[in-house]
Every structure is written in structure tokens, then in C-alpha cells.
Symmetry: C2
């Protein structure tokens, strides 16, 4: 490595708390995340906010860091913005903690930070405080990003409010992110267009809330996929959830990949797909609103008083089976 | 590794979003961090809080994870609690994001979580939301912890309020954490008692505020040490800071180690030591209050109108030199 190369890579001194770290913060982070709170305040940001608030955190370790439809930076912002949105909160303020492996190129770091800034614009959320650690070569794999988020709640979705008869909807076809990461790891050149669903969901949530849809429960189907969300709801609420298997939207390329590798699409992670429960008489309106975002949105099931704590898949031929909470390794470093 | 050993270590499935992760959350994190918000809420915590609020984040990567006077768990809680306290905020709510390397023992994870729980008790802060990622062997070094914090502000310390004539104090002797980590890495068996200063500072801050001390500026002297805090204040406020070198408290064992390795004690990181600026007529009262916590607290300097943007050290023999903002690697993975 030449001296010039060295200057183009993150070094331990960039996490040392001195001159080099200050430069990194000012020249890179302040440049892309610039807002008056970030620049005005010291270690902690000062926020004028009235409760109730939602507060959430996620660390992102996805590998590879660049994938079709997104990258680590995009997912790190969209993920926490979505957690706030799912809590019925306006995605307002994010923190950002970088753990960087010595030797990461400045070019890649800048590209990730730029991607974060672009994703922030989609919801209007702002990064108001941050932290940078640099660890020696071999102590981390490239870069990990933690984001935490705070925002004012304007709705209170919760599985606790699910009632027998409520309809279950998904905001688009499921399993894309998991399938996309799987495909990139396997180095597959895919025909068709298998991109991750990675996206900020605030616009969709806002459209539902603005229209007065009574969102009983809402959750983005990340790790563990649709299967994890529905099982957690059924188990926590001690009711059953009946799903019409042929109503669950799954793209052909996702289905194909799952058949090849033996995965269940409903267990694959999503990064821009959410599940919601609404009163039966609002289901069609909610569906129409979701389809303004994604044509593949669908009503997939109903809350029932049988099968307490279980999720039951009904096939078009009348057979039934349980959809279980996923178990085992699934895909490591999916998000 | 036998099958039994395998069961006693964190596996990739513990981050998969399914059965194993749910068990880890319930049996370990809920057990030690138990509080009604953590258990009641879903992905995001719902907080009833009125602004102004402070919001802060830090990732912790300290190596070794166990050191004299603390461990990664203790530092991860104290660090963020202290950031809130330094912003004049009550340390109320913390998030917690674990990035765990596959193969970490359950015993070590439990010991760190227990240590976090013990440190939380010192300020009354609560962990209300969390996230767990597990990365394959070699993709991280053991475990990294991010904590973010939210709390209501009851004071507004800021370097912006520093005035010429204000006195600068430190809450105890400086450089202990840096020296302690340095010593453990060098495998030194130290005589004396060189423990890290790692500690929750909320009690000390509260004592000052309760007594009506007008804390103009306040900052814990972490990475970059006392030198970094004073230089940032002097540069930001565009005033000078004059420090009496012989008034800066430094333990003999820290001084000795620094002479051996060529470090400047005022550049070494602290994890339970803060710097504050107060009006001259409140300096003695502030000192007395700080000494209720640590006998080594001291008044070390004055804000002056000379040396704009600089920190000047005056020796007992009348000579003067600049104390610069630290530069270079210092100690990687100090916190």
C-alpha cells in the first residue's frame, strides 16, 4: 500500500477523539447530514418534543454492503425510520453510530453516508447526533452502523388491539430482501429483476393514517419475515390468524430462488414491506391506499378465534397447515 | 468443540429473528433489564416525556472487555448516562444494540448484561428497547455494544456560555481509564491501584445542579482526554483557557506509566471524569460539592481573553506552553 492509498483509507486516528476525528466529522458527516441541531449541539442533541414519543434502535451489519436495491447506508436509515413509522410515530430524529474497520476506503464510507442522506430525505428525518469508532484491521468486517430514532407518536398500533374478524394485509410481495441477499452471496447472475424491497415506509403509513384507517396492528416484516410477525401477533394476542396461502404475494423470482435453495418465502426478511391488521370494513379502503404505493399489496388473512396462538395457512385445495415461527440460522447478516 | 460447548455459546441463530432470538431476549435481556416499558412495548418503546430532551449515542468496542474498575457492559451504560448528564438531562431511557460474534460464551454475555444492569441502578436509567445482531466468527471481535439515550433536560450547559474569568474544574484526577487500558494491554502487573475511573456521573452532576451552581459548560473527558475538551471549548468559544499545570490532578501511577510509554496524561481517555466551567464566585462551592464525590477534584484554570482559541499550560516556574488538541492514533479501542 502506498502512502497515497493510506491517506484514502480510514485509519485508527479517525476514531481517536482528536484532530483527525474532528476533520472526519466536519468534512464528511456534517457535509451530508447537515442540519442546525447536529451542528449547533455538543455531544448530545437538544430536541423540543412533546410526548408520547417512540424510541427505537437497530444495528446494521448486512453483507454484502452493496446489493441490488440498496446498501448498508440506505438500510440503516430506512430500518429505523420504519421502526418509528410502525409505532405510529413521525420519523423525526435519528442518531448514527459507526463502527469502522481500519482500512475502509474513504470512497466507500462517503458513498454510504451519501446514501443515508438520500434516504433521510424520503421521510424528512434528520441525524442529530453521532459517534465514530475505528477498530483495528480484523476486529470488524468493514463497517457496522447503528441508528436509533425518536419521534412523536400520532397513532398507537399494537397487536393488543387485534380483534377476531380483523383483516390482515401486506403492503407488497414478500421475501425480496432475503432472496436478493441470498442471490448476491451465491454470486448468481439473475435474470429478471430481483431487487431488495429496501425502502422508507413512512409515506405509506402516513397515507393510511391520514385517510383515517384504524390501524390496529402494524409491523415491518424484517428478520424472520411474514412468518415471524404473524406468529408473534397470534401468540401474544392469544388468537388465531388464518392466512389464504394463494393470497400471499410472492414474486416469481423469489419463489424460484426459494425452491432452488429450500427456503420458505414467508420466512425471508423484508426491508420495505409491512403487515397490518385493520377492521374488516376498512380492509378494502386500506388495500386501495396501499396499492397507491405497491400494486402487489394484498389482503392475506383474518384474525380468528380458533387455533389460539397459531398461524394457519389454508391452501386453495382446502388443506391447512401451521406456519411456524422460523427457527435456526436462516440468513446471517441479512440486515 | 463438543455439542455441549456449542450450546453454551452464541450461535448465528440467536440473531435470526426466530425462536432462538426470542429466547435470548426473554431469558437474558428481559431478566436483567426488566421494566414495564421494555416488556410492554413492541419494537419501539413508547415514552411519555416532555421537551426539551437530550438525545445521544455511543458505540463501545473497548479491548480488553474486562479491565480493572469495569467492563464493556459498565462502560456502555455509564458512557451514555454521562453524555445525558453532561447535557443537563436526567438519564431516563436507554436503548441497547448488541453486535455479537458467533461463539461468544453465554457466560460472558450474561456477565456483561449483569454489569449493565448494575450500572443502570446508579442513575435510575432504564433500557427500554434493544436489538441483537449475531455475525459469523471473524466478522467482529467478541461483542460491541451501542447505547443511545433520551432524557429530559433540567439545565443547559454549553461552551457557548463560557465567559472570561470563569473557573475551570475537573471532577477528579485525570487519565486513569487510558492508563488502565494501556497497562492491561501491555500485560503489566501493576503495584498500587491503577483502576479505570469508569463510573456513572449523574450523582455528581445532580449535586451541583441541586445546589444551584450555574454550570456554564460541562463535558466528560473521554477520548482525547482533558486536552480535547479544553481545546474544543477554547476553539469554539474563541477565548483562551489558561491552565495551572501543577493544579491538574494526576495519580502517581498514571504519571509513572505515561513517562514509561511517552503519553501525556491530559490526552488520556477518562470514563468517569468531567470538566466544568463555572462563574469565579461559585468555584469554591462547586469544588466542595465535587469533593463529596472525589477528593482529587480541583480548580485547574481560568477562561481568559488572551490566547484566543488556545489552551495554555503555565508551569509553577512561570513558563508557558500550548496544550494542543491530540493528534494521531492515541489508544485504539479505548471505549
Amino acid at each position: 500500500m502506498t502512502a497515497t492509498d493510506n491517506k484514502r483509507r480510514i485509519q485508527l486516528s479517525h476514531g481517536g477523539g482528536g484532530v483527525e476525528m474532528n476533520e472526519l466529522i466536519r468534512k464528511l458527516f456534517f457535509k451530508y447530514f447537515s442540519n442546525e441541531i447536529l451542528i449547533r449541539d455538543e455531544d448530545a442533541a437538544r430536541l423540543d418534543l412533546q410526548g408520547p414519543l417512540a424510541f427505537t434502535t437497530d444495528s446494521f451489519t448486512v453483507s454484502p454492503r452493496q446489493f441490488k436495491g440498496g446498501d448498508l447506508g440506505k438500510i440503516a436509515v430506512a430500518g429505523t425510520v420504519n421502526d418509528l413509522a410502525m409505532a405510529g410515530a413521525i420519523p423525526q430524529y435519528l442518531s448514527c453510530g459507526f463502527i469502522i474497520e481500519e482500512g475502509l476506503t474513504f470512497a466507500e464510507l462517503e458513498s454510504l453516508v451519501k446514501s443515508m442522506a438520500e434516504e433521510l430525505e424520503k421521510s424528512g428525518a434528520r441525524i442529530v447526533c453521532g459517534d465514530t469508532k475505528v477498530v483495528p484491521k480484523g476486529a470488524a468486517d468493514g463497517i457496522f452502523i447503528n441508528t436509533s430514532g425518536v419521534g412523536q407518536c400520532i397513532a398507537s398500533p399494537s397487536w393488543k388491539q387485534l380483534e377476531v374478524g380483523d383483516r390482515i394485509l401486506v403492503s407488497r410481495d414478500v421475501g425480496r430482501h432475503g432472496a436478493c441477499i441470498l442471490a448476491s452471496r451465491e454470486g448468481m447472475v439473475l435474470e429478471g429483476d430481483l431487487a431488495s424491497d429496501c425502502a422508507t415506509l413512512w409515506d405509506d403509513v402516513k397515507r393510511l393514517l391520514d385517510a383515517g384507517i384504524e390501524v390496529r396492528a402494524m409491523r415491518d416484516a424484517t428478520r424472520g419475515g411474514l412468518a415471524a410477525v404473524l406468529n408473534e401477533w397470534a401468540a401474544s394476542r392469544e388468537l388465531g390468524i388464518q392466512v389464504q396461502q394463494d393470497q400471499v404475494p410472492i414474486a416469481d423470482e423469489v419463489q424460484g430462488l426459494c425452491e432452488l435453495f429450500g427456503f420458505e418465502p414467508m420466512e425471508l426478511a423484508n426491508e420495505g414491506t409491512f403487515v397490518l391488521g385493520v377492521p374488516a370494513d376498512q380492509a378494502d379502503q386500506a388495500l386501495a391506499l396501499l396499492r397507491q404505493g405497491q400494486q402487489s399489496a394484498a389482503i392475506i388473512g383474518t384474525v380468528v378465534e380458533q387455533h389460539l396462538g397459531k398461524v394457519v395457512l389454508s391452501s386453495p385445495w382446502g388443506s391447512q397447515r401451521y406456519l411456524e415461527l422460523p427457527k435456526g440460522e436462516l440468513l446471517p447478516r441479512i440486515c
